[in-house]
């Protein structure tokens, strides 16, 4: 238990009449980056959103760092979980500075701490300070995604959830952000969970991989383990396609 950042205990979830997850039990290790790889509809985003309470499982429980998520503690728990999604999800009415620092200001951080954390993150993700007073619409997709990562990291959360944050970017920009992400991993070691459909991205960015197929864990293990001993033909296919 102490080595997992998220523990799913027998969770089920269905939308309308389609079952997404059925009695799934799964532990995601702490302090490393884990990629959950699967096709669309595999249930990977649902799994991720159960960790910050955006999706409530019909049955079963989800624990983050050992404490079970409940109605009573979900808001407090979310403050310890960074969240970045595909398309960045920046608030259009707030400047870049306000987007990134919003939660810190709401948490009444001292202004000096906010400023220094803000500038530190900007530098880490190679964002120009001149962007501070601009609004999200005037930024490129890559810049917006970097801002979204900064916002997710602002409160120094021990857990970072990333829901296909790089999927919508062009290959060149994606590659650049991948490099910055690796730098981020180095600079701020923490538990990260990356949901992606791209095995290549998973291999590049994660140490641990979980392959999800039709709501079931097809295989879980280190990158090397999965690469050397794919548990099924499906996993092998994902590797072959991801390697291209």
């Amino acid at each position: 238990m102490s080595t997992s950042c998220i523990h799913y205990q027998n969770v089920s979830k269905s939308y309308a009449d389609k079952t997404i997850l059925e009695g799934l039990t799964l532990s995601i290790p702490a302090n490393i980056t884990t990629a959950i790889v699967g096709e669309s509809g595999s249930g990977k985003s649902t799994l991720l959103q159960m960790a910050n309470g955006l999706v409530i499982p019909e049955r079963g429980q989800v624990a983050v760092f050992g404490s079970t998520i409940s109605r009573a503690n979900v808001t407090r728990t979310r403050l310890t979980i960074g969240y970045s999604v595909q398309g960045a999800g920046l608030f259009p009415h707030l400047t870049i500075y306000d987007n990134i620092t919003l939660m810190a200001r709401l948490q009444k951080w001292p202004i000096d701490d906010i400023q220094s954390r803000y500038h530190y993150l900007l530098t880490l993700l190679e964002l120009d300070k001149d962007l501070s007073e601009r609004f999200p619409y005037s930024l490129s997709g890559g810049q917006q995604q970097r801002v979204s990562l900064c916002r997710a990291m602002m409160l120094k959360p021990p857990l970072l959830l990333l829901d296909e944050p790089f999927s919508a970017l062009d290959p060149v920009t994606r590659d650049t952000i991948h490099q910055e992400f690796l730098k981020l991993q180095q600079a701020e070691t923490r538990s990260m969970v990356l949901v992606t459909h791209d095995m290549g991205e998973a291999i590049k960015l994660a140490q641990q991989i979980i392959v999800l197929h039709d709501g079931k864990v097809e295989q879980q293990g280190s990158v090397a383990e999965i690469q050397d001993h794919p548990a099924s033909e499906y996993v092998e296919t994902l590797f072959r396609l991801g390697g291209q």
């Binding site: 979980i81 619409y137 916002r151």
Partner: protein, 506 residues
């Protein structure tokens, strides 16, 4: 869900009670002040103005609630004590108000009125009834002066107003009483005088105090069989009026006969003088006031200023109430339930009640004057504000709502940091729509004596005076345009330009 809606309802109720008590208190606290009412036609305005100036000359403060639409509106206002005096007609009093078919005796009227706290005073003198009129020359030529004599004539063209042809106390009764055999044609009352002038008809119906009879050289035939009901003008007053006040009004009893009233009406209709001028002239001629006493010859500009201020006041209070109720209820509906549809339907339903009908419905509940007007305007402003608030909140990108949640914001923080700022452009345009609806609808408030820019419009309609109508219509239109501009400025201050992109102009 239910407690929330009940709570909302209680809030509205409380607001209504608070506003009505505030305004009620103002109106009761009048000291030496008196409220004079009038119906919305020429003669009644003039008589109300005469009474008003009489009181002003005696040192009273006068509140003029002129131009009320219809007998029941003004009578209810008198009953509720919101009007102290107005001039009624015996025929109307008997048939419409008291549903009484006996002889028109003052004592009988007062016996019936006593229970309502109302008293009728001695008649002012004239009888404004239907009459049959024709050119003086023709009457002389035919040698007739009574309706009986007219009925004997065979070669006569008659044209009557449509209403007269259809009323039981009009043509059909006239035929029964006098035995007419001629076939009349129907036409608009205003056109009938012109038709007589051009010679295409010889005889038409008239009112005994019509101001333009003299202009067309018309005389009235004597109703020798006493067919037409009598419509003697008499002041109806609140029984609680002081003896001094009664005595002042009583100064008018028997003072104006048909000829005199016709002539006074003519000064307004034909000479284009204002009611205030004619009333002041009359009172001086009768020696009832000192010459050049402070007659309230309000100029056009001071009227405009007063009416605009009242109009703005009505609109602003109603709009503020609309926001105070509409915004929180809109948010609550969005937050707590699936009530949104039913609430929007209910608010929409209120919107479909014609304004005049809504104002009339409010008279038994809230009386006349500003309180019911403000409540009606408030209800009209509610729908656009509610609808825009709920729709604006519902149409915010769901991804952003999830992000706000996922970042760990409390519900209140989600509301203040994300939902409200993102909903603001649409909410603001909803408030703008409500403001413009209020400004437009507030012109109708004059019908129930609330004043505002509708006052010159209502008076102008009664007098068929286009310039007077424009004195209300143009400033009201200007107010609407100014409001539009004001909200554009507000948008510019409150909302970043890029947040307005893609929004439909409203």
């Amino acid at each position: 869900m239910l407690p929330q809606s009940i709570r909302g309802g209680l809030v509205i109720l409380a607001l209504i009670l608070v506003t009505s008590s505030v305004f009620g208190a103002q109106e009761n606290d009048r000291g030496r002040s008196i409220t004079v009412g009038s119906k919305n036609f020429n003669e009644n305005y003039l008589l109300a103005e005469v009474i008003s100036q009489l009181f002003e000359d005696a040192g009273y403060a006068v509140d003029r609630k002129f131009g009320m639409s219809g007998t029941m509106v003004i009578y209810q206002a008198l009953r509720a004590g919101e009007v102290d005096v107005y001039v009624e007609y015996t025929g109307t009093l008997a048939q419409v108000i008291l549903n009484y078919s006996g002889e028109h005796l003052l004592d009988d009227f007062n016996r019936l009125l006593a229970a309502e706290g109302i008293e009728a005073l001695q008649s002012i003198g004239f009888n404004n009834s239907y009459a049959i009129s024709l050119k003086r020359e023709l009457a002389d030529e035919l040698g007739i002066s009574t309706i009986s004599e007219l009925a004997q004539q065979s070669d006569i063209e008659m044209g009557f107003s449509i209403e007269f042809l259809n009323r039981s106390d009009g043509w059909s009764g006239l035929v029964k009483t006098y035995g007419f055999s001629q076939q009349p044609t129907g036409m608009d009352h205003g056109l009938a005088y012109r038709a007589i002038d051009e010679g295409s008809i010889d005889v038409t119906d008239a009112y005994t105090t019509d101001g333009d009879l003299d202009l067309y050289g018309l005389i009235l035939l004597e109703d020798d069989l006493n067919f037409f009901p009598q419509y003697f003008a008499l002041p109806l007053i609140n029984s609680s009026l002081s003896p001094q006040a009664r005595n002042l009004i009583a100064e008018l009893s028997g003072r104006i006969d048909e000829q005199r009233m016709r002539e006074l009406n003519g000064r307004v209709m034909l000479d284009g003088k204002s009611f205030a001028e004619v009333a002041s002239e009359f009172l001086q001629e009768e020696g009832l006031v000192e010459r050049n006493a402070n007659s309230s010859n309000a100029t056009m500009w001071s009227n405009l200023r007063r009416n605009t201020l009242v109009h703005l006041q009505l609109t602003l209070i109603a709009l503020s109430l609309g926001c105070a109720v509409g915004l929180p209820v809109g948010i609550a509906v969005y937050r707590y339930g699936n009530l949104s549809r039913s609430i929007i339907y209910i608010a929409g339903l209120m919107q479909t009640i014609p304004s005049i009908a809504l104002l009339a419905l409010f008279i038994p509940l809230f009386g006349i004057g500003r309180t019911p007007a403000i409540i009606a305007l408030f209800l009209y402003s509610l729908l656009p504000i509610l609808r825009s608030t709920i729709t604006a909140l519902l149409t915010i990108d769901p991804a952003l709502k999830r992000i706000a949640e996922a970042l760990g914001m409390t519900r209140m923080q989600q509301l203040t940091q994300v939902l409200i700022p993102l909903a603001l452009p649409n909410v603001l345009s909803g408030i703008k729509t409500a403001a413009i609806i209020c400004i437009g609808t507030a012109t109708l408030a004059a019908f129930i004596g609330a004043g505002g820019l509708g006052e010159p419009i209502v008076t102008g309609l009664a007098l068929n005076d286009t310039s007077l109508i424009l004195q209300g219509a143009i400033p009201a239109a200007c107010l609407a345009i100014l409001t539009e501009l004001l909200f554009e400025m507000l948008e510019r201050v409150l909302i970043k330009p890029h947040m307005l992109v893609g929004q439909l102009p409203t």
